[in-house]
Symmetry: C2
């Protein structure tokens, strides 16, 4: 595949094409990733998440400017796991970001779901690899909302940045319950708005409490967490004017240094790979089984469960039996 050579030599079009290929047919990843994998492992992957309207895109724009001033190349993957509803808003952000894409040192790509959240996390992983092999120093993943897809994607990054806004009130509880455990750095954006200090204080408090609760092994997936000596900082920013962004960039770098210094980076990488392996194996075996099932037989079994002649566990047994 000439495309892969072009990619590794830094050809933008090759990068775009390979991403499209993988997006359209996840099976192609099986052919492409093995070829590029030896050239990966150099990028610092940063995840940025938070509720819609928190100003993530503006923040990423300014952060990218900061990284470019330090001569780092940047890849941005904007992931939208929420179906048609937020389409409009995101599109606006994308257009605003296109100013950045005039710069050869910045590569921007959007990704949608097509209804399969699990698949999105996997495809995002593959796109990270492509941008890594493409030679990007920093890869920023932007995701919307606080769903499971975000959590899955956040497991694939080295440094996760959670963006909040002042005055989220009661709902901060709902958002933070799941997200506190996966945040390495917290940003309270729109720091010129009322209530910023209260939101910062609430966050600091919840982080203190969570420190107490998350002693020992983290229960949530791949990331060894706060108990290991990294207390997530809370940073105030005003993304539109850039206030606080150099501070954020500094903390992101500090976090990576911390991860390298302790061996958390390697532990995390290992856990991430184990999760990824399991996901690949699980998918491949399911495909394999479904291929081997005669359609008629499968439908017949489903029908029997619908009519309560058979339960799902016994039906699964029959399917598995007929495959081996």
């Amino acid at each position: 595949m000439g495309l892969v050579d072009d990619l590794i030599n830094g050809d933008r079009k090759a990068a775009a094409k390979l991403i499209t290929i993988i997006e359209n047919d996840t099976n192609k990843a099986r052919e492409i990733i093995p070829l590029i994998y030896p050239c990966t492992g150099n990028a610092h992957v940063i995840g940025v998440t938070g509720p819609p309207g928190a100003g993530k895109s503006a923040l990423i724009e300014k952060l990218t400017g900061e990284l470019r001033r330090k001569d780092k190349t940047v890849g941005i993957i904007a992931v939208d796991p929420t179906s048609p509803f937020t389409g409009g808003a995101l599109l606006g952000d994308r257009i605003r970001m296109q100013e950045l894409s005039m710069d050869k040192g910045v590569f921007i790509r959007s990704m949608g779901t097509r209804g399969n959240l699990g698949g999105l996390a996997r495809a995002t992983n593959d796109v990270i690899r492509i941008l890594d092999a493409f030679g990007r120093d920093v890869i920023i993943i932007e995701t919307v909302g606080a769903g499971q897809a975000d959590v899955d994607i956040m497991h694939a990054v080295h440094t996760s940045v959670i963006v909040m806004v002042p005055g989220m009130g009661d709902d901060i509880q709902a958002i933070k319950a799941g997200i506190l455990e996966i945040g390495d750095i917290f940003v309270v954006n729109k720091a010129d708005k009322n209530g910023v200090d209260r939101t910062v204080m609430e966050l600091e408090m919840m982080l203190d409490i969570s420190d107490r609760f998350t002693k020992g092994e983290s229960t949530v997936g791949a990331r060894p967490k706060m108990d290991k000596g990294w207390r997530p900082p809370v940073i105030k920013t005003i993304a539109t004017s850039g206030v606080g962004v150099p501070d954020l960039q500094g903390k992101i770098e500090e976090h990576m240094e911390y991860m390298r210094r302790t061996n958390i980076l390697q532990m995390q990488e290992k856990k991430r790979i184990e999760n990824e392996l399991m996901a690949i194996i699980r998918n491949r075996m399911t495909e394999h089984t479904m291929e081997r099932i005669k359609d008629g037989e499968y439908d017949e079994l489903v029908q029997k469960v619908v009519t309560h002649e058979l339960d799902s566990y016994s039906a699964a047994d029959e399917i598995l039996r007929s495959c081996h």
Copy 2:
């Protein structure tokens, strides 16, 4: 198993014991569910979800009272997919609900996650089956928050009720993006608070828009949605005093009648069973594979991926090859 006979004869202790058995060891479900499955399929399963503090527990309490006045027996499963953070609040709610449990016609049970969201949805499914075989007319599942686990659980119910509160502001967008597609009935609780009409109006508007966007097949899992003639109603309630609860109960019944009248109930049941079958098969095959892998070999392959000697796809190939 005498327990199963006792359950089917309406023995409370047998129900509680069987649930505990399945909670502690999901593999036991394989033995228990086949025995009770022929006696299931009679309950109306209702899901209630929404952000913490929306008053879901109080609403369920009053709804249960309403159902009891109509001589229906009720099972309540309170699912808490968010780890330690919300523990306190939920406990309070549970204690408040215990007044209900003095009534023999009400059976209440809480379930936690233990770190495995996918497993929780499956276990909830099994517990629904147990309460169904136990003879409950109505089974109410309460879940917290708006994560993927909630969405998965909501796919297992016949009628899903989404509880909101006035003045959720910008965040209503975040919550609704994922939840609009799975709600059959929307409740704006705390209707004595400021901003209730605005929240109702926003919801109605978003439902109108989503109607336009979701023509054709729903992209989200098991539930054939609004395009089929059911426009989710938005109901105002004050759970603490019971205002609006009879209206809610009426709409819930209306929804079930609608599902029965059209053949959506059966279509949904079929899709749900297909999803469940796939989940069971996937889990069983993964277990099967992991058992067959010699630990040393697996660790060695992971290590090779960590050091970039091998990529995940090729490692998965090797694992699968050595299993067949």
